[in-house]
Symmetry: C2
Subunit: 333 residues, 2 copies
């Protein structure tokens, strides 16, 4: 039997239980050319909130009644005449929020557990890792000596952005919610400073830790944090718009950055990015990550919760901030 989570309605505001349909179905027989994957880990990403809106964004929205889209890693346990996969292969792809996926294999890739733990293929060597790597190196055009500010800094993407910038010889300041996360950034990940936006004033924090301003702001959060960061731009600063998690559940229009004219004054730029554009260069990023991991220069952390029935509660941790690093749901032993 296969437990699945389907989209029941496009939510207004934070998703609730009624956003989803939980159902258990029989696993169908495989047709010719199909494989059956037993999913172990399901990726929970802020971007998923965008996919359940009604309108099209950079990707088609999930339709009501469809299995919720999600990145997964699992194991091929049954094959009906497939050229690429065999039983026992571990694979990563778009398996959706379900315990088992039946697929023709399109969009799935075999992963090598000797190189990285299975769950890392949803994190550092998965989509968040690729986003961080290409976002900070290509979109932000990072240079040695840059002063780098990262929001959502204890998250899957932000924590890697900051560590890459440290490797490249930058001063790195992270913004995160709560003392635990801030301590994690400075004590575990080597950030130069951290600003606790839940307990400290963001402007005083920026004044204290970025007295000379910032060359790069990598933004995962939007709202008043983006507005604060804009007041500290140096000449020719680059702002990377990777996400805006503070705005994803608003029922009104998102808050635009009032201080955007700082771009004019400082000849700065604000650029959007979508990681899929860099797909052909993923192998370069993975090679660098492997090197950095082996040299002890970079750490990743997965925050793993269990049980597909806990999907909604776990998903909401993205927005409450109640997790550190990459948020993952384990749906099979």
């Amino acid at each position: 039997m296969n437990k699945q989570v389907l989209l029941a309605e496009h939510p207004s505001g934070l998703p609730t239980k009624s956003t989803w349909n939980y159902q258990t179905v029989e696993i169908p027989e495989l047709s010719d050319g199909e494989i059956l994957i037993k999913n172990y880990y399901i990726s929970l990403d802020p971007a998923m909130r965008g996919w359940i809106r009604e309108g099209k964004s950079y990707i088609e929205p999930v339709e009501v009644g469809a299995i919720m889209r999600a990145g997964t890693v699992g194991e091929v346990i049954k094959v009906n005449n497939h050229s690429k996969f065999k039983v026992g292969d571990f694979v990563c792809g778009w398996g959706g929020v379900q315990q088992y996926s039946v697929t023709n294999g399109k969009g799935f890739n075999i992963v090598d557990q000797t190189k990285a733990a299975l769950e890392c293929y949803l994190g550092i060597v998965g989509m968040p890792g690729m986003t961080a790597y290409f976002g900070i190196l290509k979109v932000a055009e990072l240079k040695k000596g840059d002063i780098v500010l990262v929001s959502g800094a204890a998250g899957a993407v932000g924590s890697l952005v900051g560590q890459i910038a440290k490797i490249k010889g930058c001063r790195v300041v992270g913004i995160a919610g709560g003392k635990t996360k801030c301590d994690y950034l400075t004590n575990e990940l080597g950030f130069d400073a951290a600003i606790d936006y839940k307990n400290d004033n963001i402007y005083s924090g920026l004044k204290a830790h970025c007295p000379k301003g910032i060359d790069v702001f990598f933004d995962n959060v939007g709202g008043s944090i983006l507005d604060g960061a804009l007041t500290k731009l140096r000449m020719n600063a680059r702002v990377v718009i990777c996400g805006a998690i503070s705005q994803y559940n608003t029922t009104t229009k998102p808050k635009g950055p009032s201080n955007y004219l700082s771009l004019l004054v400082n000849r700065a730029s604000m650029k959007g990015m979508v990681v899929f554009d860099y797909q052909e260069q993923y192998p370069d990023a993975i090679k660098d990550y492997m090197k950095w991991i082996q040299a002890g220069l970079i750490k990743s952390k997965e925050d793993i919760y269990e049980g597909i029935e806990n999907f909604n509660d776990t998903f909401l941790r993205l927005f409450s901030g109640d997790k550190i690093g990459k948020l993952i749901l384990k749906v099979n032993d």
Copy 2:
């Protein structure tokens, strides 16, 4: 005697009579190395509203009690031992809002009336012309075939931006206030279409005239026009933030662009610019403009009002939109 306009107070909201001190003083004797300039034309620019704020922007603010900063063109009528200027030279520079300027000549340049009319040195071959040229060609990285949207399109900068884009083989749509201006854009300047934001809905206008979206948005206006344009960005679009005239007189925080996440979805960029950065390349721009003017490919229009005592009323035309092209105040015959 020299009539001058001094800053009396940093205004909140629209400048009023009490923002300025009008005074008449005697012209002092020239010291060694000084020249006396009789100013004919004073440039009125949206940027001046920024200069009379309290805080520093990309340039020092005008201090209370100082002569209001402004670009000017005039004639040297007296010289006390100067190596660069002689009586009869026509010069352009920062003469300020006054009928006569006494200066050591720093920042002033001799202009050639045989090449362009005196007033053009405040327009097409002056700061607005340079802003348009480098903004659309360098900052926006204009390419042949781009769909270009310009706000403040009947203004000194916007009207040139659109015409340059036409010369470069682009489709050009302008946004301006009122039928007269819109007719001017399409009938006189060769814009492909115009949207009258005062009488038409901006979203319907964009839908009608930019059905395929836009590659470049050159923004002089900000506010809801910027927000509307952001909804029409194509992949890899470039937004140039040249100004935000709709926001300069607000007494609350400026309105940030709510739709800025369109940058993310469309991998687009938003870049600020300040024309002074291109100073060394001004001669290239002037050469191109001369060529285009002679070929009948570009037109400029100066809207000239008279009398230094009308400075405030004339200045306010920038914000009411009650002028076409480059706004100039004539202060001497």
